[in-house]
Amino acid sequence: MADAAAPVNPASAEQSLAAAPAEDRPLLQVEDVVKHFPIKRGIFFKRQIGSVQAVEGVSLEVRRGETLGLVGETGCGKSTLARCITRLHPLTSGRVIFDGVDISRLSARQLRTHRRRMQMIFQDPFGSLNPRRRVGSIIGDPLAIHGVADGGERKRRVQELMEVVGLNPEHYNRFPSEFSGGQRQRIGVARALALRPSLIVCDEPVSALDVSVQAQIINLLEDLQGEFHLTYVFIAHDLAVVEHVSDRVAVMYLGKIVEMAETAELFGSPRHPYTAALLSASMVADPEKARSSHRVVLYGEVPSPINPPSGCRFHTRCPKAQPLCSVEEPPLRIQAGDSAGHVTACHFPVAPGEQLVGAAPAISAAATAFAADSPDIGEGGRA
């Protein structure tokens, strides 16, 4: 029983290992994480002909009890980053420090104890549940794997979890196919919750659900955060959802974080042109506001992460780009006039109140030429 109670006070186990007091230390520190996927060619002698630079030097911190939103369009590396944090992918370089312990180089065996405190909720409520196993075994799996509870005790715990996430515990013996999308995502939440983790990485947990159900799941996640003192890394491409759930938001573009700030500040005064374009592309529920707002249309396509642009990775599509941008990569830093937690990687940040509408990319005419007569295809910013 003492074993079962341990995850409730997770800090105690590693406290002695770390210098800083456990409560002040960020729960998760990501330091310069790089993830490249090699591209190989050849049948007998595979040689590497290049690599997809999915995540390129990302650093961030997640404090205890907060929700960090991670946004960006499809293919920008946010899911890869999530899988690097949870060590489902090995890192190419960099460090992931979870509660004072560097987990980026741990062996599979050593990692297991840390998996207990770091769980993941997946995007696809259909693919992430094993179709041939009963819900009871799916939710009970973490308990079984870590030897937390067995037999009747496990069943009792699983049924408790089902209650907590709003499922009927009598459905213990059903198969995933007998549930709706929202219910399935609740099963996923219950599974992530089973070991009472400190950190849950939510990889687009609601993007596969319809809108009414999205709200239910988001409310459930928020309730659980209060009840179980959870810390979330919340990945989404729906800005309204991110704004609603996050304390802080990080914006990713082509494997890099371009801007990170408190939610209100980021949504109120975005400094990176990409963030501004992203925000202007999202729907506004108020028709008055919608009419008065202007959309920044980004031209061209997201460049390939196999061969990313030099300098600032956004310069090929940026309405404010200058020659400097293609040469020198801007560091992530606090821009003049911003608060301490607001960092932006841009040489020429957007001034508060500045309009970007109508500005065409200044640098790369080649990248935009094909899009000139059909500006609609440049709406990548909405993703």
């Binding site: 489902l88 693919g127 094993n130 041939r132 799996d141 794997i145």
Partner: protein
């Protein structure tokens, strides 16, 4: 433990839980029917499956009562009996003559008793070799598909090698070296059969391991062994069962072939293959029952397992059944429709056995 947030959150629910527990007992817990149980229900409603089961049952009963048959008739399956088993001219009895229901062979042994004893060997070899091949093929296919890399390269090439090997030659060589015996026969058949299953399982594993539920299992700390056998295996059990069922008749024919060639279970053990081989010289004299009757036994057994395998496939994969029904309908409607169905391919791996 008392600090656990779950306890706190569920404290209010305890009373309610006790109530619902009673209700649960009364109503019976809500239980999803497992895919295998659903398949079994479909199988039960399939008339062809019953016919196939009847054929197999006939052979099983024959195998079980073989010693009884022998003691009732007083005819040994092994010893030649030229006194009672042949007529005054030394010729074998035909079916129904002199109390021999299915006649005798050219040394006077009761063919019925020998067929019954042969059924024991055929079923034993067929089922045991299939079990070995299925278990081995599944395990190696899973390992090969899951780990990939050099392990996969090695195992996949091994499967190719086994599948392309002239198995009869190999069996003859082995029998020459070790002498034919029952365990050797089972071993040879299992060894040359596992690769077919291994290949299918490997392919299925390759596709299953990319599913998100495997990633989910890894994220909760499951090890490779658990992911392979607890998470992935249930998802490919259907093709394995189908292939396994269809492998039984193949193994039985394989065994008969080896016996016929004299490199399987050697005489005097009565097996169908031995009987066919022993009697082939006499068949020319008009003693048709020497070879027709063991062949019929072989036919009933293999047909039974094949039909059962087809029914099992239909039951496990209702999609194919519907597909066939659709094709039949189209074919009945005639004309262009029939050819359209031919292009679709979602048959399960069973056809490749």
């Amino acid at each position: 433990m008392s600090l656990s947030p779950f306890e706190v959150s569920s404290a209010a629910l305890v009373a309610e839980e006790e109530q619902s527990a009673e209700a649960l007992d009364a109503a019976g817990a809500i239980e999803g029917r497992s895919p295998l149980r659903l398949a079994l229900a479909r199988l039960r409603s399939d008339r062809m499956a019953w016919v196939a089961a009847g054929m197999i049952l006939l052979m099983v009963v024959l195998a079980l009562i073989a010693p009884v048959l022998s003691s009732i008739t007083g005819h040994s399956p092994y010893n030649p009996d030229l006194v009672n088993g042949t007529d005054t001219f030394g010729q074998p009895y035909g079916p129904g003559q002199a109390g021999f229901l299915l006649g005798t062979d050219n040394v006077g042994r009761d063919i019925l008793v020998r067929i019954a004893y042969g059924a024991r060997i055929s079923l034993l070899v067929g089922i045991l070799a299939t079990l070995l091949a299925t278990v081995g093929g599944t395990a190696l296919g899973l390992v090969s598909g899951y780990y990939g890399g050099w392990i996969d390269a090695l195992l996949a090439r091994l499967m190719d090698a086994v599948l392309s090997f002239p198995y009869v030659l190999a069996a003859i060589v082995l029998a020459a070296v070790f002498g034919g015996s029952l365990p050797l026969t089972i071993g040879v058949i299992a060894f040359f059969s596992w690769a077919a299953i291994g290949r299918i399982v490997r392919g299925q594993t390759l596709s299953q391991k990319e599913k998100e539920y495997v990633e989910a299992a890894r994220s909760i700390g499951a090890g490779s062994f658990r992911i392979m056998f607890v998470d992935i295996l249930p998802n490919l059990i259907a093709p394995v069962i189908v292939l396994g069922t269809l492998l039984v008749p193949v193994a039985i024919v394989f065994e008969a072939t080896l016996d016929y060639l004299g490199v399987g279970v050697g005489p005097p053990t009565p097996t169908w293959g031995n009987m066919l081989a022993d009697d082939q010289g006499s068949a020319g004299f008009g003693a048709w029952w020497f070879w027709v009757l063991p062949s019929i036994a072989l036919l009933i057994t293999t047909l039974g397992f094949n039909l059962l395998g087809d029914s099992v496939r239909d039951a496990l994969d209702p999609r194919t059944e519907r597909l066939f029904a659709m094709r039949r309908k189209k074919a009945a409607a005639g004309g262009l429709g029939a050819s359209a169905g031919a292009g679709t391919e979602p048959l399960s791996g069973g056809t490749e056995a």
